[in-house]
């Protein structure tokens, strides 16, 4: 215990020293407080009264989004707001009632305004309504005398002139939520908007710009008296997209109310001219703020308008996959273009029967006629000889079963099955019957419309690994001579050219030979002809009984049970330039529904082509009008 006694002595002695030190320091603090508040108090009171310079942030103008020709897709619009300054009226209720006689105000708004008035200082304005139309503004101005405390001010808000036609590309802006906060004070400005989806989100930081600062003189109560100094911020960068807005509008209108999507891209550069997904929605509504009912309507719509089907819709490719199977078979050497198989309308494998869509059979088929007429039995035969792993490998080279990095969030990968994949994912071995189904693009295989367009582009451009993109250029406001990003030379995917020519010939025949499944949707104008492939994807199982009594027609089925209609194509036939994919969910037949849409799109895109009539070489170069003469907003 002695030892502890000594230690305790030292401990307590030093504790007292330490405590003494703390007492001295705290006394210092009290002394300082006394000095600041009592001795110097008057001085600081005066300073506080004169404390009149308040720094405020100015929100920068958000950069515009333009299409490939500089047509505005997202702009800033004046936003007329009606405000109430409580101290300027004796009776808030009276002012609101008077205002209500002139423009409609909901009781919900009235309650919110009253709540805010209670919470804030009486000289601070409270927003009653935003985004008002000019007529309402005029009406308020005329009646201003009867409405004390009511004023109008003009701010800026995002506006999408044809937003509904390009919602899936543009995305939208909306208010900053708590989890978006990064410490940047700009985000805490009331009413500030940030990109929440689409290209608005992809380029959000560039579009935002830099905030400015204003020094305002305020009196001791914080009332703003005048502006002393203003340092303007920097508007956000202009973002040029590869989209052709007129074409985008055309395609969206053409798809109509169907749950459908279409992608149009340049087969050489990968520029996506159109990325449409319907039904669509109005991005302006998100900026304004959706009501509960509007949100519910969007979220519960069975045709899912909020889902960008062009990149996130995953579908079995059906017969549009047959080019892939044919190329894989040719490459392995199990068939030549001239090998023939006889189609009786069905193929037996073990206990199962695999049907051709043509129940009577196509007779003797070679590769050209099998693609032209989309004979299923022929593809069962060659798929069986090629094997699933080779088919999947070929599909991957053509851009399927992988993320293509089209900038937008939510892009899906699709699925290209292999033996190893099935063993791992389903814990059972691959069945040969499943290879047969894969031969006609059904079964496990899933692709997105974007992948289908890329696949078609890679076939049409002579086997180059073109990648799709949507941003042409981001032009910062303070850069005089922006650099146009170079489009890389795409590598070859190594397909034997004669094989590719064989496939292209067959795709040409699909829409230009009288036997072709899309002959009715051909383009007749010389030089504009298209090549393509139809696809019809069954989404339900057809029972044996139904086969015997006759398969039901699509129009007799529920919407959910109808076939998906697909078409992939390119044009012009010689020196191709554009690839398109169209998927209409539960639309019916590929040749009856999807092909006519694709034909109209390919006709329109060629008609609009500014380089029409020039040589094929020029068409391949990356120079487009306007790309070097970028205007400033």
């Amino acid at each position: 215990m002695h030892r502890d006694g000594d230690r305790y002595k030292i401990f307590s002695r030093r504790s007292i020293v330490l405590f003494g030190g703390k007492t001295v320091l705290l006394s210092g603090l009290v002394g300082r407080m006394y000095y600041l508040q009592i001795i110097e108090g008057e001085k600081y009171k005066t300073l506080a009264d004169e404390n009149r310079i308040s720094l405020k942030l100015i929100a920068p103008k958000r950069g515009r989004i333009l299409d490939r020709f500089g047509r505005p897709m997202a702009v800033n619009q004046q936003n007329y707001r009606v405000l109430l300054i409580p101290e300027n009226t004796k009776d808030v209720d009276f002012s609101l009632m008077q205002l209500g006689k002139v423009i409609p105000i909901s009781s919900h708004d009235v309650q919110r305004v009253k709540r805010e008035i209670k919470r804030r200082r009486r000289f601070l304005p409270v927003i009653i309504r935003e985004n008002m139309v000019w007529e309402d503004v005029a009406r308020i101005e005329v009646n201003a005398a009867e409405m004390p405390g009511i004023t109008i001010d003009v701010g800026e808000t995002r506006f999408y002139p044809d937003g509904t036609q390009a919602a899936s590309v543009l995305g939208y802006v909306s208010g900053v939520s708590e989890k978006d906060l990064t410490g940047d004070p700009l985000l805490e400005l009331p009413g500030f908007r940030i990109g929440k989806a689409g290209m608005e989100k992809v380029h959000d930081l560039a579009l935002r710009g830099k905030s400015g600062i204003t020094q305002v003189e305020v009196n001791a109560f914080g009332r703003q008296i005048r502006e002393l100094e203003r340092r303007e911020g920097l508007p956000g960068a202009e973002t040029w997209l590869t989209i052709d807005m007129e074409l985008q509008k055309f395609v969206t209108k053409r798809l109509g109310d169907e749950a459908a999507s279409a992608v149009v891209m340049d087969i050489h550069t990968g520029e996506v001219l159109t990325l449409a997904s319907t039904p669509t929605f109005d991005p302006n509504a998100f900026n304004r703020g959706l009501s509960q009912a509007e949100w519910k309507a969007l979220a519960s719509n069975p045709r899912s308008p909020l889902n960008n089907k062009a990149i996130a819709g995953q579908y079995a490719p059906g017969s549009t996959f047959k080019m892939v199977v044919a190329l894989a078979a040719l490459e392995k050497g199990v068939v030549t273009a001239n090998s023939k198989f006889f189609c009786t309308g069905e193929l037996e494998l073990g206990d199962s029967t695999f049907h051709c869509w043509e129940r009577r059979g196509h007779g003797s088929m070679d590769m050209l006629s099998a693609i032209t007429q989309s004979c299923d039995v022929y593809f069962y035969e060659i798929a069986k000889r090629t094997g699933i792993d080779r088919i999947s490998a070929m599909a991957r080279r053509l851009g399927m079963g992988q993320i293509l990095d089209i900038e937008l969030a939510g892009e899906k990968k699709g699925l290209m099955p292999t033996r190893a994949w099935k063993k791992k994912a389903k814990r059972v071995s691959w069945q040969q019957g499943e290879t047969l189904l894969a031969g006609i693009g059904q079964g496990f295989i899933l692709t997105t419309p974007l992948q289908l367009a890329v696949m078609t582009a890679r076939l049409a451009n002579g086997g180059k690994a073109v990648k799709p993109h949507l941003t042409k250029q981001v032009v910062p406001f303070d850069v005089a001579d922006p650099v146009v990003p170079e489009i890389p030379e795409f590598k070859s995917i190594g397909i034997h050219p004669p094989h590719l020519n064989m496939i292209k010939k067959a795709m040409g025949a699909v829409s230009n030979s009288p036997y072709g499944t899309a002959y009715r949707s051909r383009i007749k104008e010389p030089g504009f002809q298209l090549a393509g492939k139809t696809g019809t994807v069954q989404v339900r199982r057809i029972t044996k009984a139904e086969r015997e009594t006759g398969v039901k027609k699509n129009k007799d089925l529920e919407w959910r049970e109808r076939d998906h209609a697909l078409f992939v194509g390119y044009a012009p036939l010689k020196n191709p330039r554009y690839a398109v994919s169209v998927v209409v969910e539960h639309g019916g037949g590929g040749s009856s529904i999807a092909a006519p849409i694709a034909k109209d799109i390919l006709m329109e895109v060629q008609r609009r082509d500014p380089l029409r009539g020039q040589s094929g070489k020029a068409a391949k170069s990356h120079n487009f009008p306007n790309s070097t003469t970028v205007k400033k907003g």
């Binding site: 502890d4 603090l29 407080m33 108090g41 804030r120």
Partner: protein, 382 residues
């Protein structure tokens, strides 16, 4: 000490709860309530977004404090090193994950809640040093090796926390650690040499370790008037707000300087300024008075304790608490640079609240076990 060391303090849970110094708990509650009031004012007379959440956190903190208090003090003794090791490992994790491109990150996200290793380290270092010295004889403590080892154990986490970068926590932790070495009986001349060495070390520290914004804060502190609208703005505005409060202040919710956004971070670092603006010198003194009472309790509990482990913990917690108060208040009054340190029990912030309540829990634990004797070897179990 022929007797075998006590392994159990022979008290039931009820007895321990009864032994807790409830007047101390009451003081903590009163002080925290003043904090709720100030947060209510900071939000212009609203419980949202700060006051209501702070109340919930305080309730959680209270529960944590009582739990820590009734745990057998031998448990803290036995696991002191382990707790330090875990805290250090977490600091390394944060440092590592920060350096591979996740940006400056001071916390680890566990999904349900986040832990901030630097806050854990503040407590761990107290436990560590109390454990290290609890059985050391005075002759041992006099040896230089008994100074070097704890210094390294302080320096390693201090370096990691400084790099986060969190200067406030670093200073607090190092100062607490040095105070504990002093209390444990390390010779005075060691501190004299240490002070001289520190002065010699300042130059490389300034050149290589401190980041630009940290230097800026220190420079600004030395001459705030130089850049009244730039970096010196906060200190100047804080002095104006505080000074204009006068003797009795401008009244609750009426602090014009604080409410007109002249004052930055009024809910966290600068909350004392707002309080002094609204309640004047009198209000400030009441709060400081409450703090002094808590400090006296801490001091008394430490001196009354019959084991060295408890004494060291008690004074460690008290010193850390004091430094927290002092640095914050001196900072808002322009006596120290702005280093980013909240005012204990008053400022908004969940982690700081929980850390503080945990350390108060340890203090109460010392009080509950004040008559327990802990001999050498008690930490090794059995």
């Amino acid at each position: 000490m022929a007797l075998s060391p006590f392994r159990q303090s022979d008290m039931s849970l009820g007895q321990r709860l009864w032994q807790i110094n409830w007047f101390f708990v009451l003081l903590v509650g009163i002080t925290a309530s003043i904090g709720f009031g100030m947060l209510y004012s900071a939000a212009n007379g609203n419980f949202d977004p700060w006051a209501s959440r702070q109340m919930i956190r305080f309730a959680a903190g209270l529960f944590l404090m009582l739990m820590v208090a009734v745990i057998d003090i031998h448990v803290w003794l036995r696991y002191a090193y382990a707790i330090y090791a875990v805290s250090l490992a977490l600091l390394v994790v944060v440092e590592f994950s920060g350096s591979i491109g996740m940006g400056a990150q001071r916390w680890i996200d566990l999904g349900v809640f986040t832990i901030q290793p630097s806050e854990m380290m503040k407590i761990s270092i107290i436990l560590l040093l109390a454990r290290y010295f609890y059985a050391a004889r005075l002759e041992d403590v006099g040896r230089i090796s008994h100074v070097i080892v704890p210094l390294i154990l302080i320096a390693v986490p201090a370096f990691l926390i400084m790099r986060q970068p969190d200067l406030g926590t670093t200073i607090l932790m190092v100062a607490t650690g040095i105070a504990m070495l002093f209390l444990a009986g390390v010779r005075i001349w060691v501190f004299v040499i240490g002070a001289l060495a520190t002065i010699a070390a300042v130059i490389p520290l300034w050149n290589f370790v401190l980041l630009d914004y940290q230097k800026q804060r220190l420079l600004t502190f030395l001459d705030p008037e130089k850049d009244p609208l730039g970096a010196g703005y906060h200190i100047l505005q804080s002095k104006i707000a505080l000074g204009s409060g006068g003797m009795f202040g401008k009244g609750f919710l009426e602090g014009s300087q604080s409410h007109l956004s002249f004052l930055p971070e009024k809910q966290t670092d600068f909350i004392f300024t707002m309080m002094a603006e609204e309640f004047g010198l009198v209000g400030g003194l009441v709060l400081i008075g409450l703090y002094v009472m808590l400090l006296i309790y801490g001091f008394a509990i430490s001196l009354r304790c019959r084991n060295q482990f408890g004494r060291l913990i008690g004074m460690g917690v008290t010193t850390s608490f004091f430094l927290n108060i002092f640095v914050n208040i001196a900072m808002v009054m322009g006596l120290l640079p702005v280093v980013g340190m909240p005012l204990p029990l008053i400022s908004y912030g969940g982690t700081a609240m929980l850390t503080l309540m945990f350390s108060f829990g340890l203090l109460l634990c010392v009080y509950v076990h004040r008559d327990v004797q802990i001999g050498p070897g008690a930490a090794d179990g059995n």
